[in-house]
Amino acid sequence: MYLTKEEEKMLNGEYGWAISKALKVIVSIGESLDAEKLINISHAHISGVSYGNIGEPGRKLIKEFADSGVKFSVKATVNPIGYDTMDYDSMPFTKIDRTYLKGQEDILMSLKKMGANLTLSCTPYYLPEVNYIEKGSSVAWGESNAVVYGNSVLGLKTNREGGPISLMAAITGKIYYYGLHIEENRIPNTRYVIRRPDDYELNEVRVGIIGEILSKLHNNEKPPFLDEYLNNDTLVKELSASLGAAGNIAMIVIKGITPQKIDENKLKETVIIDYNDIKIREEEIKPSEVPDIIYFGCPHANKDEIEKIANQLKNIENVKSQIIITTSREQISKVRKEVLSMLKEKNVRLIGDTCLIVSPFGYKGLSIATNSYKAYFYLSKKGMNVSLISIDSLKEVLKS
């Protein structure tokens, strides 16, 4: 791989142990991918920060980097952790013990010391500091839903940088020139059309299932082109999350949303997805009883979604299910006071910094309904009984 003189110096340790080590990781992976060079990134979103996931080995490594005194070369945001930092006990059926808490706090301190903004959210794309990044910029993001959303909606360029890679990229400010950083790899050649009657409207559940279908159908390296108007952000977000969970698609070109001109004449094929196939899946995974838990906020709910949920609950006197919404501190701060107190009144848990997937929540005997295909995918894997509902059907589900 070609390295600039500056990069050679970094690798040889002229800027210290940490930079050298981190760049060695990036260069070794780049070489394995036959990348021709490194490029500068303008932001990193660091995943793999939960103590429950990376444990002592992860905590120690991150601490070692922080203790070396190295600072991140670029602005960096951080993925959710296993609990709400303002109220450790807020997640129902979940206990956080002292060791877990201490381990996690140590990880957060190390990240902060290196210069991370501890956003603890999987939706960095809602943050002003991320929204201002110029379209077309290369970034290094972990967290698959954010990767798809960043590429497809914000016009940023990133591959799925799992494990410690986003951290190493934040330290060095570099990533390998590979995959979706290369312009021509972002041009789709397969168009997907959803064949459906006008009265079969798309909601979060249906786009989640479309994500699952696309993950199975789409088998070329280029992003799929979805020839369908998605008329609100929740749909785009849930589709991004579904694609990120069900398979390894890291970008989708969505008509009218992806900031990229498509020459439709250059598309090589059109694939039809019939709404009946979506309907069949929808029937398979709908709730069969009033769920014990109803979960929203995977990926983290935004202010509008929180208010929409509250609106559905307004006239329901006795909410029998335990409703949980996970979101970021930043979005909680934007929700109106009267909405917050109404949610409290209905015993809705509005929880920051975490989510049901990353928290040690694991009570298998309960039935859970969610509007997120991603949550359905991962919680089912943990052996839980999960079904899918949309926010709009909440009132109906609670009444049945």
Partner: protein, 126 residues
């Protein structure tokens, strides 16, 4: 003596006894506190021969922890690698060779004496 070649992603020179793991996932399969595999074998100072990786994003940290705790293998030789393992080996400075012919690797047995020299894998006669 037999020689195989691959691609040296983390370069180094070392030798030791082979330990075959067909499909390797560091998370869950290896205890970083003692180097034990779930089947009871131990990876310390071995040349790990793996046919393919099984995905886990925590793998890098486990490899690094093995090194820090003194239970790391001397080198890892694979038919196919992936970024999480590469990151772990680069962090821990454990020589890693991938793209080695899988049929050649399948002839190696536990305990065979192996020399790893940059991108070369030398299997000594028994």
């Amino acid at each position: 003596m037999k020689e195989l070649t691959g691609r040296a992603l983390v370069k180094g020179e070392t030798q030791g006894e082979a330990l075959i793991i067909k499909e390797i996932s560091f998370y869950g399969d290896i205890d970083p506190n003692n180097g034990n595999l779930i089947d009871g074998r131990n990876v310390k100072d071995k040349i790990l021969i793996a046919y393919k990786p099984r995905g886990s994003t925590v793998g890098s940290y486990i490899i690094y922890a093995l090194k820090e705790n003194g239970f790391a293998p001397k080198a890892i030789v694979m038919a196919k690698s992936e970024p999480i393992i590469i990151a772990g080996c680069a962090l821990a400075n454990i020589p890693l060779v991938d793209n080695v012919d899988i049929n050649g690797l399948k002839d190696i047995e536990d305990g065979d004496k192996i020399i790893v020299k940059e991108n070369k894998i030398i299997i000594l006669d028994k």
